[in-house]
């Protein structure tokens, strides 16, 4: 039993740290550090830098242009991004759709889509939730009906992050209304410029303009844009949800938030014991989460796939993230810091997205505890 990283892993960490310090555009770092929201161009410039270095897609295998890192290297890289105040690239192309195309797509799809995802030339968004299908995702009723060599798509997708920037959207659609609800679903790729596709922004309580509604009205999508088999989309989506859940703990970002909080306490002269107690309780739980993540990582390094245990990381990670924004707002006080208030409002989303924390508890109960 040993907690330490190997000398090679520590050397790798140094490399990553120096690279970020040298190459991350200063204005982007400043925005991340200040907690301001980023524009497309901010992400894009950083993506280009990472791509040029071969580091845009840490989770990709070498044949597709990834660095072929181990689970531990990916963990170190993601930590160093946080410690260096680098933005996390939007995951929709790189982390979400790409593994599905690799695993279930055909060669033509791999050649068409993967290179531009890797280079950042094309942006993606995720069309899953609907007004009537949130936690019960399989209840979705966006329909795709065959018409020759096209699907005609009709329906509304919602809560879509960065749809306003996206060139493509991957969509779960119902291709067979007669089948059992999980079995009638297919996974298709839709060009956002397709006639009949409309993006409507949704403003969130923090004033943010991240999420959107995407409406499909008789949008014609070539059949060849379907990934894998018709009716197998639900299986692919579940595969993706597990990918999405790893790395949601956000331990390193929480550590950075704590550093900033402590700086604020020092500069504002806050030494109230009640506040320090509450902050310490959150920090201790963050330590416990960090080591739980390392245990998962060690298991992954030993050849286990990320499984339902990652639900623990999602639940606790998001609770801690939220608790930290709450402490930061408490430290600032009302009418004092709009960014702190907005961060608190914005972070309410974390226990809702990527499978709400209640859904995660059900996953633990059913799949680990077999209840």
């Amino acid at each position: 039993m040993d907690l330490a990283f190997t000398p090679e892993e520590r050397a790798f960490r140094d490399d990553v740290r120096h690279f970020i310090a040298a190459k991350l555009p200063g204005d982007v770092r400043a925005k991340v550090q200040a907690g301001e929201s980023l524009e497309k161009d901010d992400f894009a410039r950083w993506h280009t830098v990472l791509y040029a270095h071969g580091w845009a897609a840490p989770n990709w295998p070498i044949p597709y242009g990834g660095p072929g890192w181990t689970a531990v290297q990916r963990h170190i890289f993601s930590e160093e991004l946080a410690y260096g105040w680098a933005p996390r690239l939007p995951p929709f192309g790189l982390v979400m759709v790409a593994p599905i195309i690799m695993e279930f797509g055909n060669d033509a799809q791999r050649e068409r889509y993967l290179p531009t995802i890797l280079s950042g030339e094309e942006w993606w968004c995720q069309g899953y939730s609907e007004p009537g299908a949130g936690s019960d995702l399989a209840a979705l009723d966006t329909r795709a009906e065959r018409d020759g060599d096209h699907y005609i798509v009709n329906g509304t997708k919602t809560w879509i992050t960065f749809a306003q920037y996206a060139d493509w959207i991957f969509v779960l659609v119902r291709t067979n209304p007669q089948a059992k609800k999980q079995e009638g679903i297919s996974f298709i790729l839709v060009d956002m410029k397709t006639p009949g596709v409309t993006v409507r922004p949704i403003v969130t309580i923090d004033g943010g303009k991240e999420i959107n509604e995407v409406i499909f009205e008789n949008a014609r999508v070539p059949i060849e844009n379907r990934v894998g088999d018709e009716g197998a989309g639900w299986t692919y989506a579940k595969f993706l949800l597990e990918h999405e859940r790893t790395g949601t703990a956000g331990v390193a970002r929480c550590r950075q938030q704590l550093v900033q909080l402590k700086e604020r306490l020092a500069s504002d002269g806050i030494s109230d014991d009640r506040f320090l107690d509450r902050m310490a309780l959150v920090e201790i739980e963050l330590d416990a989460l960090a080591y739980t993540e390392l245990r998962t990582l060690a298991a992954e390094s030993a050849g286990k796939r990320p499984g339902p245990e990652s639900s623990i990381l999602k639940i606790k990670g998001t609770q801690i993230q939220q608790a930290l924004t709450e402490l930061a707002l408490d430290a600032a006080g009302p009418y004092a810091d709009q960014l702190a208030a907005n961060a608190y409002f914005n972070y309410r989303k974390t226990s809702i997205y990527a499978g709400s924390n209640e859904i995660q508890k059900t996953i633990i109960a059913k799949r680990i505890l077999k209840l």
Partner: protein
């Protein structure tokens, strides 16, 4: 990074699991000696082997089996003090099973803080005379010797550690009722004469603090063993108990509570690993305090949640003397407060992060 057990550790786990499943009747000390467990953490030339990781394995199994033998007090805590103070003669007696030591460090109004010592050691001839009160002395009634912390009337009131035979004139022991079946006593010392050889260490506070950290890591492992049983037995109950014509584990309110108990158990387990690895390594006292006190706070919090909800999900049967869950809950309740409660450790965790006052270069 590696969380797996070595072949030797797996062997220890195997034998202690068998022991804890069916502990022998009466005092297990000779069994402990035979199995080599009294030598855990001792130097090799005394026949010692292993360290905090092996202790963790042992203590987790003791937790699962609700073993009440005073191993934590007499081997982990006392043994660590003797090792850190380099008292090989006494440690050898401990390892052989010829002597058993209980540690009297805590005082009535000290609120768990080992530096708040009012017991006095007065220089007298070439020895000392000790006077004062100690509380929560674990394993005292089966010990032969006490290790007592006392403030010296010389050396600027430094805290010294003394070996005090339990049968020395002036030593009074008052056994206390304990809710978890463990042996605990209060000790009164009235002008107890000790020879100079009875002085274990002059700068005793650092040694006690270090040994308490090692013992707290062991306590965390015991707590994880207890929580594991509380969790597993409750989960089993949810699958087998039927009401309204179905297993109660099919109700979402109970499923989510159980998922939360699972999550707390895993966080606690992580912290127990960290605590053991920290005291096994070379952490400086501040790092050590941060890791150990953080672990103790987390484990107390998780243990309370798991314990209280184990009772709740069982319903009335969980309240009964004859059912096992209550006994685990009671031991967990003690462990939550033992060797420093959460208020004490939260304060220590916060203090460990404060920037130390600069010491003048020539001091």
């Amino acid at each position: 990074m590696d969380f797996t057990l070595s072949a030797e550790q797996l062997m220890i786990k195997d034998s202690v699991t068998r022991f804890a499943a069916e502990p022998p009747k009466g005092d297990p000390w000779s069994t402990f000696a035979e199995l080599g467990w009294l030598a855990l953490g001792a130097p090799e030339d005394l026949g010692g082997f292993g360290g905090p990781l092996e202790t963790m394995i042992l203590m987790e199994a003791f937790g699962k089996g609700l073993v009440t033998a005073p191993y934590l007090a007499q081997v982990v805590l006392a043994g660590s003090i003797l090792r850190l103070a380099a008292r090989t003669d006494l440690l050898e007696a401990l390892v052989d099973g010829n002597a058993r030591f209980a540690v009297a460090y805590e005082e009535p109004h000290a609120r768990h803080d080992p530096s708040r010592v009012a017991t006095i050691a007065m220089r007298q001839g070439d020895g000392y005379a000790l006077g004062g009160s100690k509380v929560r002395v674990l394993g005292a009634s089966s010990a032969s010797t006490l290790i007592v912390s006392a403030r010296l009337d010389t050396h600027d009131g430094e805290i010294g550690l003394f070996a005090v035979p339990l049968d020395a004139p002036g030593v009074e022991i008052h056994g206390l009722a304990s809710e978890d079946g463990h042996d605990v006593a209060a000790i009164q010392l009235d002008n107890v004469r000790i020879s100079s050889n009875g002085l274990i260490a002059l700068a005793g506070l650092a040694i006690v603090e270090h040994a308490l950290d090692i013992a707290t890591a062991a306590l965390c492992a015991e707590a994880v063993g207890i929580m594991t049983v509380l969790h597993d037995v409750t989960l089993d109950y949810l699958k087998n108990r039927t009401q309204f014509g179905v297993a109660i584990g099919s109700f979402q309110a109970l499923q989510h509570r159980m998922a939360e108990m699972f999550t707390e158990l895993e966080l606690a387990r992580s912290m127990s690993f960290v605590a053991a690895m920290t005291v096994a390594g070379e952490a400086d006292p501040r790092e050590r305090a941060r890791a150990i006190s953080g672990a103790k706070v987390q484990i107390a919090r998780s243990g309370r949640f798991v314990g209280q909800n184990a009772i709740q999900l069982h319903g009335a049967i969980g309240m009964t003397e004859e059912y096992k869950i209550g006994h685990y809950f009671k031991r967990m309740t003690t462990l939550e407060r033992l060797l420093g409660d959460s208020d004490y450790h939260l304060g220590r965790y916060i203090a460990s992060q404060r920037v130390p006052r600069r010491t003048p270069v020539n001091a």
